[in-house]
C-alpha cells in the first residue's frame, strides 16, 4: 500500500503549483484554473486522510467541495464573460476600479 504521506506530498505540490499560478498569471481564466487545481489538491488530501483513518468524513467532504467548485465555476465564468464584454480583455490588472 502506498503510504499516506506520498499523497500528502503530491497534494502539497499541486497546491503549491496552484498558488504560484494564482499569483503570477494574468489571464483570469488561468487564475480560475489554478483555483480549481488548489481545490483538487485539497480533495486529494481529504481522500488520503479518509483512507488512512478509515473514516468516511473526508470523502463526504470532497463531495461538498466538488459541488461548491461547480457552483463557483458557474458564477465565476459568468463574471469572466462580463469582464470580457466590458473590457475586451481578460487581463486582471485592468480590473482595478476599486483602487483608491
Amino acid at each position: 500500500m502506498i503510504p499516506t504521506h506520498y499523497y500528502l506530498v503530491l497534494s502539497a505540490i499541486l497546491f503549491g503549483l496552484g498558488v504560484v499560478a494564482f499569483i503570477f498569471r494574468r489571464n483570469i481564466i488561468t487564475i480560475f484554473m489554478s483555483i480549481e487545481l488548489m481545490l483538487n489538491a485539497v480533495n486529494l488530501a481529504f481522500v488520503a486522510f479518509s483512507q488512512a483513518w478509515n473514516r468516511l468524513d473526508g470523502q463526504v467532504f470532497v463531495l461538498f467541495v466538488i459541488v461548491v467548485a461547480a457552483a463557483e465555476a458557474a458564477v465565476g465564468l459568468g463574471i469572466i464573460i462580463l469582464i470580457q464584454r466590458n473590457r475586451q480583455s481578460l487581463n486582471v490588472e485592468r480590473v482595478d476600479l476599486l483602487k483608491l
Binding site: 494564482f22 499569483i23 476600479l97
Partner: protein, 671 residues
C-alpha cells in the same frame, strides 16, 4: 382653617399666572395679560390676608404653624421637605411681599403699557412673586434656598429685560455672578449646620440649639456658630447688597423701574435681612458674627450714603439709598434688635417702593430721561407724583411722624444702648444726615428751580391713574406704617415689637437701664435724629433750592473727594483690576488657550489626525491590483499555519476561536 391647611396655594397662584402668561400671553392683548397677572397676585394677596386672619386665631402653642406637604429630598437621615411655615415674622414678610407686589403689578400695567415684551415682563414678575413667597414661607433652609436662588433668577431675567441693550444684559450677569459668590457661602453654611445638628428644619434646628444650652461663643472664638453664621451672612451680603458684594445693585437699575421698586428695593434685597432675622438664634450664639453683621451694616450704610450724595441719575441715587438703608437693617440685627430691623424692612418697603415708583413716574413724564441735571421745576406739571414722592422723602429722611422716623429711631436707639455701640450710633446718625441731604437734593433738583430740559421737545405729562393709585396707597402706608411703634415714644407699648416677640422673644438685646431713664434717652435720641434730618434738609435747601452755582464751587474746591465719590470710590475699577481681569486672564490664557485648546481639543484632534496618518499609509495596500490581493491571502494563510505549527500556546487560542480541537488535528497530520 382652609388657607392655613393649604398654604401652598399662596405661592402657587403667581406660579400659575407666570406659566399662563409665559406660555400663551404672547398672542393675547395686554388686557388679558393684566387680568392673569394681577388676578394671580391679587388672589395671592387675598389668600395671604385670610391666612393671617386664621393665623391670628391660633393659640401660642401652635405657632410657628408648620405644614409638611411632601418630602422633596430624602437621603439617609437627611430630609428636605416641601414644608411651609407661618409665624409672626412670616406674616410681616408675607403681607409686605404680596401687598407691595400687588401694588407694583398694578403700577406696571401703566408704566409698561407701550413697551414690547409685555407678557414676558409679567410672566417674570409673577415668577418672582412665586419664589419670594417660597422664600418667606419655607420651613427649612433647603426650601428657603430654592426661593433664594429663584428670586436671583427672576432678578437676573428682569434686570436684563431690555436684553438688546448691552449694559442691561451685562448688569443682569453681574447681579447673578455677584450673588453666586454669596450663595457659595450660604450653601457652605447650610452644610455646616446639617453636619452639626443633623437637620435643616427651622423648628428642629432652633429647638435643638435652644435646648442644648450651647454656650455663646465670645468675641474672637471661631466655633460652629460663628463660622456658620458668617457663612450665612456671606449669602445675605450678596443678596442684600452689603459690602463688599453690593456692586451689583446700582447696576441693576438697568431694569424697568417697577422691577427696581419691587425686587431691588422692597422685597428681594431684604431677603438677606430676613435670613439673618430668621436665624437669630444662631446669630445670638456668636458674639463675633453679631459684631461683624453690625459693622458691615453700619459701614455699608455710611459708605453707600456718601456715594449717593453726588449721583446724578435719579434711579442711582435711590439705588445707593437702598444699599444704605439695607445697611441700617443689618446694623439693627447686629446689635440684637431684630424686630427693629424687620420693622425698618417693612417701612423701607413702603417708602422705597414709593420712591422708585414715583421716580418711574417722573421718568415716564420726562419721556425716558433719568438725569436729574436735565429736569427741574416738575412740581407744577406732575402734582400727584410730586406730593407722593415728597411724602416718601420725608419718610426716609426720618421726619416725624412718618414711618421712617420710627423705624430709624428704634435702630439708632438699639445701637446706642448696645455695649460699645456708640461708634455705630454715631455713624448711623451721620448716615441719617446724609440720607436726608441726598433725598432732598433729589427733590430740589427734580421738582424745583427752572426747567433744564428742552420744553419744546419734552412734553411733561402726569401718569395715568393705574400708576398714581399705587403711589397714593404707598404714600398713605409711608405715613401711617410707623405708628405701630409710635406709642413707645411716650412710654407705651411698641405694637410691632410685641407682635414679633414670640419669634425673637428673649433673644432681643436686653436693656439694662431703668424704665424712666430709658424713656428719657429715647426722647433725646429722637430729637437728635430729627435735628440731623433737618440739618440735611437745610444743607440741601441752601445748595440746591435755587441755581446758585454753589454745588459746583464746592465740587471744584474738593475735587479729589468729589471725583472719588462720583466714581463710587473706584470700587468697580478695583474689582475689575483685582478680581475680574486676573480671572479673565486665567480663563483666557490658561483654561481656554492652554487647557481647552491645547489639551482637550488637542487630544481629540490628535486622535483624528493620527488615524488619518495611519489610514494614509495603509490605503496604499488597496492598490486595485488583484494579484497583490492574492499574495496577501497567501501570506496570511502561511502566517496562520506557521503560528499554529510553531507556537504551541497559540493553538489553544486559535482552536477556541475556530471551535476545533487542534491537538487532535495536528496528531492527524503527524501520525
Amino acid at each position: 382653617m382652609p388657607i392655613l391647611d393649604n398654604l401652598w396655594i399662596i405661592p402657587l397662584l403667581p406660579l400659575l399666572g407666570s406659566a399662563i402668561n409665559g406660555l400663551f400671553g404672547g398672542k393675547w392683548p395686554n388686557k388679558i395679560v393684566n387680568y392673569v397677572a394681577i388676578g394671580a397676585t391679587g388672589l395671592s394677596f387675598a389668600c395671604a390676608l385670610e391666612a393671617v386672619r386664621e393665623f391670628s386665631q391660633l393659640s401660642p402653642q401652635q405657632i410657628p404653624f408648620v405644614k409638611q406637604f411632601f418630602t422633596w429630598i430624602a437621603a439617609g437621615t437627611f430630609r428636605a421637605g416641601f414644608d411651609l411655615q407661618i409665624d409672626q415674622l412670616t406674616v410681616v414678610m408675607l403681607l409686605v411681599v404680596t401687598g407691595v407686589g400687588l401694588l407694583i403689578h398694578i403700577y406696571s400695567t401703566g408704566y409698561l403699557a407701550h413697551e414690547g415684551g409685555y407678557y414676558r415682563f409679567f410672566s417674570y414678575l409673577n415668577l418672582f412673586m412665586f419664589f419670594m413667597l417660597i422664600l418667606v414661607l419655607a420651613a427649612n433652609y433647603v426650601l428657603l434656598f430654592v426661593g433664594w436662588e429663584g428670586v436671583g433668577l427672576s432678578s437676573y431675567l428682569l434686570i436684563g429685560f431690555y436684553f438688546l441693550k448691552k449694559s442691561a444684559s451685562d448688569a443682569g450677569k453681574k447681579a447673578f455672578i455677584v450673588n453666586r459668590i454669596g450663595d457659595f457661602g450660604f450653601m457652605l453654611g447650610m452644610f455646616l449646620l446639617f453636619r452639626t445638628f443633623h437637620t435643616l428644619d427651622f423648628n428642629a434646628l432652633f429647638n435643638s440649639v435652644a435646648q442644648q444650652n450651647s454656650a455663646t461663643e465670645p468675641w474672637g472664638q471661631f466655633g460652629t456658630f460663628t463660622v456658620a453664621c458668617l457663612l450665612l451672612f456671606m449669602g445675605a451680603c450678596g443678596k442684600s447688597a452689603q459690602l463688599p458684594l453690593y456692586v451689583w445693585l446700582p447696576d441693576a437699575m438697568e431694569g424697568p423701574t417697577p422691577v427696581s421698586a419691587l425686587i431691588h428695593a422692597a422685597t428681594m434685597v431684604t431677603a438677606g435681612v430676613y435670613v439673618v432675622a430668621r436665624s437669630h438664634i444662631l446669630f445670638t450664639h456668636s458674639e463675633t458674627a453679631l459684631v461683624v453683621v453690625a459693622i458691615v451694616g453700619c459701614a455699608t450704610a455710611c459708605f453707600a450714603a456718601t456715594i449717593g450724595l453726588v449721583q446724578t441719575d435719579i434711579k442711582r441715587v435711590l439705588a445707593y439709598s437702598t444699599v444704605s438703608q439695607l445697611g441700617y437693617m443689618f446694623l439693627a440685627c447686629g446689635v440684637g434688635a431684630f424686630s427693629a430691623g424687620i420693622f425698618h424692612l417693612m417701612t423701607h418697603a413702603f417708602f422705597k417702593a414709593l420712591l422708585f415708583l414715583a421716580a418711574g413716574s417722573v421718568i415716564h413724564a420726562m419721556g425716558g430721561e433719568q438725569d436729574m441735571r436735565k429736569m427741574g421745576g416738575l412740581s407744577k406739571h406732575i402734582k400727584y407724583t410730586y406730593m407722593t414722592m415728597l411724602t416718601a422723602t420725608l419718610a426716609i429722611a426720618g421726619i416725624p411722624p412718618l414711618a421712617g422716623f420710627f423705624s430709624k429711631d428704634s435702630i439708632l436707639l438699639s445701637a446706642f444702648n448696645k455695649e460699645g455701640g456708640h461708634p455705630l450710633y454715631a455713624f448711623g446718625l451721620l448716615t441719617a444726615l446724609l440720607t436726608s441731604f441726598y433725598m432732598f437734593r433729589l427733590i430740589f433738583l427734580t421738582f424745583y428751580g427752572k426747567p433744564r430740559y428742552d420744553e419744546h421737545h419734552v412734553h411733561v405729562h402726569e401718569s395715568p391713574w393705574s400708576m398714581l393709585g399705587p403711589l397714593v396707597i404707598l404714600a398713605v402706608l409711608s405715613i401711617i406704617g410707623g405708628w405701630l411703634a409710635a406709642p413707645a415714644l411716650w412710654g407705651g407699648t411698641d405694637y410691632f415689637t410685641n407682635f414679633l416677640a414670640p419669634v425673637f422673644g428673649s433673644h432681643e438685646a436686653v436693656e439694662a437701664i431703668s424704665e424712666a431713664a430709658a424713656h428719657q434717652l429715647e426722647i433725646i435720641l429722637a430729637v437728635v435724629a430729627v435735628v440731623a434730618a433737618l440739618l440735611g434738609f437745610g444743607v440741601a435747601y441752601w445748595l440746591y433750592s435755587k441755581p446758585t452755582g454753589k454745588p459746583e464751587q464746592i465740587a471744584k474746591s474738593m475735587k479729589p473727594v468729589y471725583n472719588t465719590l462720583l466714581n463710587k470710590y473706584y470700587v468697580d475699577e478695583l474689582y475689575a483690576a483685582v478680581i475680574v481681569k486676573p480671572l479673565m486672564w486665567v480663563s483666557r490664557q490658561i483654561f481656554w488657550q492652554a487647557v481647552d485648546v491645547t489639551v482637550i481639543d488637542g487630544t481629540v484632534n490628535g486622535v483624528a489626525s493620527t488615524l488619518t496618518v495611519i489610514g494614509d499609509g495603509v490605503r496604499h495596500t488597496q492598490s486595485g491590483n488583484t494579484r497583490s490581493y492574492a499574495v496577501w491571502v497567501v501570506v496570511g494563510a502561511i502566517v496562520i499555519i506557521a503560528v499554529v505549527f510553531f507556537w504551541p500556546e497559540a493553538r489553544t487560542v486559535v482552536g477556541r476561536v475556530q471551535g476545533l480541537h487542534l491537538p487532535t488535528l495536528t496528531k492527524m497530520v503527524r501520525p
